[in-house]
Symmetry: C2
Subunit: 590 residues, 2 copies
């Protein structure tokens, strides 16, 4: 035995451990291979995302019912943690619109808006979201989020965009609307109080919206025509929020609009790094917040993973769903203890981060450091910032959440999927965001059960001289009168077993000359206990009707079970065939 041989296992083990470590600490991967060239991209992306994030984070904090600095705090340590642990290199984590909406709906029944208890409950919610996501990631339950189907998520997102957008209308109109349980009540209240609109606020709000839309849709091509380099155009167009913030703040300060015209402003934002904070440890609050925490964990993760995956695939990189859960969970725990509130990966900021050239998690860390500098030095500048401008920033951002393409596509593709989209959309507007998404998930599951409970059953015949058998209604095939070959296009389980029995007996009754019935199980992936009983019953009933039952193309895993329970012996080994062709040859039908 040589030395190298004895060491081999250790070497192998070491290698595996390194892979494991790199898997759980993805920053080892990029930090050890960091190239100077990466830094330019990371730095530029970090700066541009900061420019977007400063006003957005304050806006989303207000949407969540929290003081503006909470949004800034949630954009420091959580970003550093995600930058180190995230498997996506370009995901831009922080406050996002939909999670902020869920925070507001979840906490507002428990504490008064903006009160210290309210702020502490937001920390508690971040803690719960962190625990849920961390646990799900560690025990590899990431697949659970798949129960949120695309149509349900699309319907939810579009409806949430309406709810969020409408929640900002009051800031643009300049009067307050009481929080009520149902969306339509707030719409009615707003319509009834339109007379209280503050015109100066309205002008500031609409002006900001117009400016933001101009930057977004027209300025880029104008600058392009002027011959500006692409690398310069993006920083300029993406600074739109910063521009409206600066212009409007200066205008309010110079014209004293907050005093003279009653324009609502952000007011004093405390300076300095985030405080160390603790969540509530009251178990009844935890229990009450748990459903909201689950909703945020799922919805937040879905938003995050979908953008992370689509961006990673553009650069041939991989995203690990379970590691993403761990990283987002850890980011939420960081938010809990540093004065933040629940965070996740945001769609538009991640796209900008990617386009601006972010190469590694360092971009995220640079953003965090710049936000930290902002809260230390720049908060006094936000004193005269009108709330209507933050509302305008949200309005323009959530307009992107509408997903007409998916709606149209789903309508064309499948009415059942479309139904789950519409139910979710309407339910969110009618009964609220959390119950709405639950109703959507339930609808999607029920529609799936409904689909599988009335399986497609095809009588098949031989295609030409081949060994292939297909539906007699769709293909030119040969059949023979004494044999009925039936393909069942569904696994057999409790919800469809009665339907199947009735349908097959009906087919036999309709074809009195039939002596042999071949059940083709190529599409049967399992047979549950209820269905097994039905098959035994069917065998008896067919025997009584003078028809012999055969099986073809039973899959391995299904066959194993049917053998073990004695069903194969009960029917007779010789009546099971590997292929339909063999069965038909035996029955002298080919």
């Amino acid at each position: 035995m040589t030395v190298s041989e004895t060491q081999a296992p250790h070497g192998h083990q070491r290698h595996t451990q390194a892979t494991g470590l790199r898997r759980y600490l993805p920053f080892l991967e990029w930090l050890l291979h960091y190239r100077r060239a990466d830094l330019t991209g990371d730095l530029l992306a970090g700066i541009i995302v900061t420019i977007m994030l400063v006003p957005q984070s304050m806006a989303y904090a207000l949407l969540a019912g929290l003081p503006p600095q909470v949004g800034l705090y949630a954009s420091i340590f959580p970003l550093i943690v995600y930058g180190l642990l995230g498997s996506s290199r370009v995901l831009a984590v922080g406050p996002v619109a939909i999670v902020s909406l869920l925070v507001a709906t979840g906490i507002s029944p428990l504490a008064e808006l903006g009160s210290p208890e309210y702020v502490q409950l937001a920390l508690t919610l971040a803690l719960l979201v962190g625990i849920v996501q961390l646990l799900m990631g560690m025990v590899r339950l990431g697949f659970l989020v798949n129960f949120l189907s695309h149509p349900v998520l699309s319907g939810f997102t579009s409806a949430a965009a309406i709810v969020i957008g409408f929640s900002q209308v009051k800031h643009v109109l300049g009067f307050s609307v009481p929080r009520t349980e149902y969306f339509y009540q707030r719409v009615l209240y707003t319509l009834n109080h339109l007379g209280e609109t503050n015109l100066v606020t309205l002008v500031i709000g609409l002006g900001s919206v117009a400016l933001l839309l101009y930057f977004k849709y027209s300025l880029g091509s104008l600058l392009g025509r002027w011959g500006l380099k692409e690398a310069l155009i993006m920083p300029i167009t993406k600074s739109a929020p910063l521009v409206v913030v600066l212009v409007s703040t200066l205008a309010v300060w110079a014209l004293k609009l907050h005093d003279q015209a009653g324009v609502a402003i952000v007011g004093a934002v405390p300076a300095g790094l985030p405080p160390v904070t603790m969540p509530t440890l009251d178990p009844s609050a935890w229990q009450f917040l748990l459903p909201t925490a689950l909703a945020i964990s799922f919805v937040g993760f879905m938003e995050s993973i979908s953008v992370a995956k689509s961006l990673a695939s553009k650069r041939r990189q991989k995203v690990d769903a379970d590691q993403e859960l761990v990283a987002l969970g850890a980011a939420n725990l960081a938010a809990t203890f540093t004065g933040g509130y629940p965070v996740t990966g945001g769609f538009s900021r991640s796209v900008v981060n990617f386009a601006a050239g972010a190469q590694t998690g360092l971009a995220s860390i640079i953003t965090a450091l710049l936000i930290a500098l902002t809260v230390i030095f720049l908060t006094p500048l936000f004193y005269f910032l009108p709330k209507a401008v933050l509302a305008a920033i949200i309005l323009v951002a959530v307009a992107n959440l509408f997903d007409f393409r998916t709606v149209k596509h789903t309508w064309r593709y499948s009415k059942a999927d479309f139904a789950s989209l519409v139910v979710t959309f309407l339910a969110v507007l009618a009964i609220g965001v959390e119950k709405g998404i639950l109703a959507g998930v339930a609808t999607a599951i029920l529609l799936f059960l409904w689909r599988t409970s009335r399986p497609h059953i095809a009588v098949v015949g031989r295609v030409g001289e081949s060994e292939h058998f297909r539906n007699v209604l769709r293909h030119e095939v040969q059949t023979c009168p004494h044999v009925l070959a039936i393909r069942v296009d569904q696994s057999l389980y409790f919800a469809n077993t009665q339907y199947l029995e009735t349908a097959i007996l009906q087919m036999v009754a309709d074809n009195p000359q039939v002596r042999h019935l071949v059940l083709i199980f190529s599409a049967v992936n399992f047979v549950d206990a209820s269905a097994l009983e039905t098959l035994e019953e069917l065998n008896r009933e067919l025997r009584d009707a003078g028809v012999t039952l055969y099986f073809a193309e039973v899959k391995g895993p299904v066959m194993d079970r049917l053998s073990a329970i004695g069903f194969v012996d009960e029917i007779g080994q010789e009546r099971f065939f590997l292929s339909t062709h063999q069965a038909m040859r035996q029955l002298e039908c080919v």
Copy 2:
């Protein structure tokens, strides 16, 4: 045009109507062809079932918390209605154990046991059950009951047998146990109060159980050895309940056991036909009772349809599930207005009815008339009947509800099905009968989703020189290195689409020499909108990895959708093959 030609459509229409009428009024079928020979069977069966039903109906009424005569009332008009409308000719409708238990759990939170309100709420429950079953039958929603899978029903029935059996123990011990929310509380209470046992009552109760068991298991063979005719043995053995009722009543009366030894007796049962009764019209009571009504409708129907079907198939008769719902619904409406409570087809009485030779619904009507005679003339005889005897009758009856065979069979066949059985069983005992069955249904659905969310995926190769392709791990097959043929054994939908994508990409990564990937869709019965997106993504990812994607054996309905949405054109028509064999020939792999 001749006269006969013009009349033909009318003639046809009339014929259809007659079939329709016979379908909805099944008694037309047997009444029009009634043979004298049928009468002997119907009469004998009617008499024997009456002998069983008189004590049972009173016992079950007490189990439901109702006065004994309510059980008798529920055994008159509902039986006549079912006899006329039922599609089963042998189902014996009336009070049954499990429905009585559900009645007790559903009503007891609303009114004091045995109070007039309690009795009226039982009528209301019968009304709701009647409406639910009638509506479900008329709009052909009978298939909905299939969501109650066999393992769930088996677990529920066994647990309900324990709950029912235990509820009778107090009558045998001769002291009262307060109704509590949880089963274990009643068990603990009983154990703590065993010292209060009334010994005379215990002797009567255990003696009755012993006598009933003797009649049931030993007397038949003894009489057989004595040379008695089979036709005589059954009436004798089935009269066991009547015998214990007579003997014990005489004993109590003669020895004055109710006075001297404190044996609880039935007491005064009012004589005369059932009164005309009206249910509560209070909407809040309806709302509260609705979940119970749904549980009774489903569970009652399942008990009924399963025995009806199994008995009908023994005589080559058919049972129509939707008509059964209509008939049972109508029977419950009859119970509502004639002083009864919810009824359904009972298992053991139906088997006796069948074995005693019932040929038509007339057997049921004869039973009803005999019960009517009983309530008119015989109720004074029940005054001294000990409650412990009725409890003994229930105890012996529910022992049959244990279904060890299904438990063993399910354990051997499928651990997932067994899990749903055990969860239902434990949930019924731990959290109550109604919530327990809901938990069971939810478990069965979740397990089904779990199963379908991690589909079996097989790499296949060619079997010998045939055109048949099977799993490389299970069969001797030929493959070639540059082509990977993968069969996906599940419909593609939101819950499994991520899993599938990951698994396929992993397989491609594990086989770097692969240039072509053939997805075999023989087991894919539909592709939902979420899965369609994944397929588009998979196609892009494989292209980036230098692998071309092909499809084989895509079913007609699936192909229609994929074509309509443009997916087939996106992939390329030429990359879809009717059979795997054609695809492999094209790729030079066979």
